[in-house]
């Protein structure tokens, strides 16, 4: 499940950043490419803003190999978008055709195949997995030399056992609960433990203009190929 609906800050003639060109493709199609290197990935659902549909579908036709990506319009929040995509997958999850759902932010085009592989493997055996980078060099401003606990920067893709994830979102929907992220809904409604796996320092989120320059350079340095499997570099 690739989330490309953005925050929907306002309407108007502004390109969603995940639709920007990046080294010959749109930002959002890079991560679909890396994920689909894995034979375990059987369906791809892309959550979009309805006003982006034409551009998204043209990019998918041009840049993404079959099988077709299933496109669904997003909700008013990240939680709502995840719930809409889960509803599309619900019959397959209930039929046992999908074991794990992987949720990914389309603004992270450099999540290579290895990261997808490691979260899927961990979710299959442990129930839930998120990639994280340890930030050991952080310090606090209130006098403590460093935070007591290790501080990690959480990334996507994040993978969860499909049945408990679907059930958690159903219960959240009944309660009117809107989580800030997937883990908050899982913690509240599902009885699975989310484990962390090593993230990838290259797996940056496009937020600032500089990030686009960095992503372009990182892709070129990797010879536009992040399909290597095994532990992330």
């Amino acid at each position: 499940m690739v989330l490309a609906a953005g925050e929907g800050r306002r309407a108007g003639n502004h390109t969603n950043k995940v639709l920007l060109p990046l080294a010959g493709r749109r930002v959002f199609t890079w991560s679909i490419r890396w994920a689909r290197e894995l034979p375990e990935v059987c369906r791809t659902v892309l959550v979009i803003r309805e006003e982006d549909r034409d551009v998204v579908e043209a990019a998918l036709t041009r840049e993404v190999e079959p099988p077709a990506v299933e496109v669904v319009p997003g909700g008013t929040s990240r939680h709502g978008s995840e719930w809409k995509a889960l509803q599309l997958l619900a019959p397959a999850i209930e039929a046992g055709a999908i074991d794990v759902v992987v949720i990914h932010d389309a603004a992270r085009p450099l999540a290579g195949t290895a990261v997808w592989e490691s979260v899927i493997e961990a979710a299959v055996s442990l129930g839930g997995a998120i990639p994280a980078e340890v930030h050991g060099h952080l310090t606090s401003l209130d006098g403590d030399p460093s935070p007591r606990d290790r501080v990690v920067a959480v990334q996507t893709p994040q993978a969860f056992a499909a049945q408990p994830l679907l059930e958690a979102y159903r219960r959240a929907d009944r309660d009117g609960f809107v989580g800030t992220d997937t883990a908050s809904c899982i913690e509240r409604y599902a009885d699975i433990t989310v484990h962390w796996v090593p993230g990838d320092a290259r797996n940056i989120k496009i937020t600032f203009p500089d990030d686009l320059f960095i992503a372009e350079r990182l892709l070129a340095k990797a010879r536009w190929d992040l399909t290597a499997r095994g532990r992330p570099q």
């Binding site: 390109t15 950043k17 920007l20 010959g24 496009i206 937020t207 203009p209 320059f213 372009e216 070129a220």
Partner: protein, 102 residues
């Protein structure tokens, strides 16, 4: 050169603002916040080698991309080939001109 507009976080404004993004070929050449004018660009000495490396990859990957397009829409592909071939030299010259002006 192509221009896109997108919302990105401006460090000067400390807010999400509209940015103009200028591309040469596939490469991002510069960005500008439309609110405060903060401008970022690739150092001129870096642009040419980066462009040439990218151009090499474009050329190497071109046959595979053409095959995919031909497979998706054979008639449309055949119709588009003559125009695309005619346009390529001017397109490349325009990109090089933009880099040397940069």
């Amino acid at each position: 050169m192509s221009v896109e507009t997108a919302e990105l976080h401006c460090e000067t404004c400390d807010a999400v603002t509209d940015h103009e993004l200028h591309y040469t070929g596939r490469l991002l050449e510069s960005t500008r916040c439309t609110v405060c004018g903060t401008h970022l660009d690739v150092p001129p000495r870096d642009m040419l080698p980066t462009y040439l490396a990218d151009l090499e990859q474009r050329i190497v990957s071109k046959p595979r991309r053409m095959l995919r397009r031909a497979g998706q829409d054979p008639m449309g592909f055949l119709r588009s080939v003559p125009g695309a071939v005619v346009r390529q030299p001017a397109k490349l010259l325009g990109e090089l001109r933009s880099i040397f002006r940069h």
